[in-house]
């Protein structure tokens, strides 16, 4: 039984179609990450799930019930905003009590005196107080319950926002880039905290981010999006080792996967003057111009030529402590790197402090078993 189901969901703003035919199923208790660059539609998709945006086409189901026509308050979801959106005039405790209060709200609570009495009765009810206290304890907020958001640090406000989301125990937690406003160190610790919470609470999390490290470390499955379309939907491992197209290949990994122009024939690929044998055979229809994808850590680098090695010249050397990154321009072969990379060079990482200098002639030996092929025309993955 799937927990969240997007069925052919699309969204248009005016003339522009920003979400195109999204169709995925999310399992119960999963930590789904919507990953992608700015403007890819990941936040819009999340907001559509929450009910903050309407859907132009398709359906959204939760636990097999259609929800896309329901207003946000009735979908049994919680949302953590990038800016936390804490109620500034309420204390931390009352911020966290608010969703519970709204759950039991009746229209006549708006009346002046009766309303105040009824609201205070709910706020002080033992089960409500217990829920808030328990959530505060889990998030280490107990000492701050009577403080106001204005006096809290970014990380503390983040936790209050989480607490407000958790206190209702919803079936789905939505988070829109919650860690972007924190500094790097805090981000790392909060990442671990959110993952821990997920394990402890066990609800379904949908998490939006543009940071691939967050995606890879936190998500059970990742949906990588671009221009409103899902490029690949799978586990972190699948996306890393088995990318569905060149965009995915070059989005994940730092430095990203290299793509070298090559020709595919029955036995392997030909890159420049070198022929590299591939362990698998590919259908004849795929023969011809392809892109050979190989990760920077799957390339051997030496000053001596070897069997099936690619000659090139070193154009850049960077030492990052534990490893070195070396960029090599190949002789007779070009890369298919996107223009923003600006360098027509293959990136190689070697452990330690590599003693190569710019201008040297070097030879790269790819580990053919780790190579992947893409169509040069469409960028789609070619499979054996």
């Amino acid at each position: 039984m799937s927990s969240i189901r997007f069925k052919n969901v699309s969204k248009t703003f005016g003339q522009k179609e920003v979400i195109r035919d999204i169709d995925i199923a999310v399992d119960d208790g999963e930590f789904l990450v919507l990953l992608g660059p700015s403007g890819c539609g990941k936040s819009t998709l999340l907001r559509m799930l929450a009910g903050l945006e309407t859907i132009s086409g398709g359906e959204i189901n939760i636990a097999d019930k259609r929800v896309d026509h329901l207003p946000p308050g009735q979908r049994d979801m919680a949302f953590v905003f990038q800016s936390y959106a804490l109620y500034p005039h309420l204390s931390v405790r009352r911020n966290m009590t608010f969703p519970l209060l709204m759950q039991q709200f009746r229209w006549w609570y708006h009346l002046p005196f009766i309303g105040r009495w009824a609201k205070s009765r709910i706020e002080n009810a033992p089960d409500v107080v217990a829920k808030v206290d328990k959530t505060a304890r889990i998030l280490a907020l107990t000492e701050m319950l009577d403080r106001f958001p204005r006096t809290l640090s970014g990380g503390q406000r983040q936790r209050v926002a989480l607490g407000r989301a958790m206190v209702r125990n919803p079936q789905v937690f939505l988070m829109d880039e919650p860690l972007s406003n924190l500094d790097a160190k805090l981000r790392t610790s909060m990442r671990a905290e959110i993952t821990r919470l997920h394990k402890e609470i066990g609800g379904t999390f949908v998490y939006v981010t543009h940071d691939q490290v967050e995606a890879m470390t936190m998500g059970t499955r990742i949906a990588l999006m671009r221009d409103g379309i899902i490029q690949q939907f799978g586990t972190a491992r699948e996306i890393y080792t088995d990318p569905a197209n060149t965009y995915v290949a070059r989005f994940i990994g730092t430095p990203p996967m290299n793509l070298v122009e090559a020709k595919l024939d029955g036995k392997g690929v030909e890159i420049g003057a070198t022929h590299i044998k591939l362990p698998a055979t590919f259908p004849a229809a795929a023969h011809g111009d392809v892109l050979f994808g190989i990760r920077p850590n799957a390339l051997g680098l030496s000053r001596e030529p070897g069997l099936a090695s690619l000659p090139g010249t070193v154009v850049m050397v960077e030492h990052i402590g534990a490893e070195s990154v070396i960029a090599v321009r190949l002789d007779g072969a070009r890369t298919a790197h996107e223009s923003d990379e600006s360098m027509d060079a293959v990136m190689v990482t070697v452990p330690g402090y590599a003693e190569f200098t710019v201008g040297e002639t070097v030879f790269l030996t790819p580990d053919a078993a780790q190579g992947v092929l893409f169509s040069a025309k469409t960028g789609e993955r070619l499979r054996p």
């Binding site: 703003f13 907001r47 903050l52 945006e53 309407t54 946000p72």
Partner: protein, 275 residues
């Protein structure tokens, strides 16, 4: 929430709101174009009779509207010029300087907002009498300016607050005196706000009644506000003529304001909302 939606209840509510806002002005216009025979009829004439537009020219013959409008214009324009000229330096001082009298000046400007014109008109009448400023448009300009300068100063101060100090420091390093800075740098940068202030001052001068009524006695110098006021409630002058004068007097104010209101709103709310 989400995309733009056009709900019917909201449309109706907005139309009702606009109807309420516009109706009296519309009614003034309709009445001005209603022929005498229908003014006192059993059922009212609800739509403007454009064939009666001739009354707008006719009214200049029977009522000294032209004189009134001219006087009002002179007073309004004079108030505008004088109040802005007077307000710029203290606005700059309030924004940039910290000295002993500043807080008092700021408070004094605020306090004047509490003084009713009707109260000060008596001593002002006496003072003007001594200065021979009675029955002169210039005197009226002086009086109006006194009441509008605090608001103008506050608005201009708000605009000067938002000019970064670095711009002035650079000029200082180049050897400019404060006055030079104000004239050559500050004023050009706050032109939209000055426009807004000008509109507010002009309005005040154009709409003002109490001083215009009390400090001016000769008919030749009467402003439109006083002239029109003499018709309120009395029915001897034909109502449609009176309404015609009303429309002629109101139209420049409303049109001018609609045209400039973007700047006025920005100018007036910039300071207050941030805080």
């Amino acid at each position: 929430m989400g995309s733009q939606t056009t709900h019917l209840p909201r449309i109706i509510a907005v139309l009702a709101l606009l109807g309420v806002a516009i109706f009296p002005i519309y009614w003034m216009f309709v009445t001005s174009l209603t022929p005498s025979s229908e003014l006192f009829a059993a059922s009212p004439n609800l739509f403007p009779r454009f064939e009666q537009l001739g009354i707008y020219l006719e009214v200049f013959r029977t009522i000294p509207v032209a004189t009134w409008l001219w006087n009002s214009f002179v007073v309004a324009a004079g108030t505008t010029v004088l109040s802005i000229v007077l307000a710029i330096l203290p606005a700059y001082a309030l924004s940039r300087f910290r000295f002993a009298g500043i807080a008092i000046l700021g408070f004094a400007l605020f306090a004047t907002q509490m003084l009713p014109e009707a109260m000060l008109v008596v001593p002002l009448y006496a003072i003007f009498g001594q200065l021979s400023l009675l029955n002169s448009l210039f005197g009226l300009i002086l009086a109006n300016t006194a009441f509008v300068v605090p608001v103008i100063t506050w608005i201009i101060k708000g605009a000067i607050d938002s000019i970064p100090l670095e711009v002035e420091e650079a000029a200082r390093v180049d050897g400019c005196s404060r006055i030079d800075i104000v004239l050559a740098i500050v004023i050009p940068l706050i032109t939209p706000t000055l426009a807004a202030a000008a509109v507010i001052a002009f309005f005040h001068g154009w709409n003002e009644y109490v001083f215009a009524q009390t400090l001016i006695s000769s008919e030749a110098l009467r402003t439109a506000s006083v002239g029109l006021a003499s018709f309120v409630g009395e029915l001897s002058t034909p109502i449609h003529s009176v309404m015609t004068v009303g429309v002629i007097y109101t139209l420049p104010a409303v049109v001018f304001y609609l045209f400039a209101q973007r700047y006025v709103v920005a100018g007036m709310t910039a300071g207050s909302v941030k805080g």
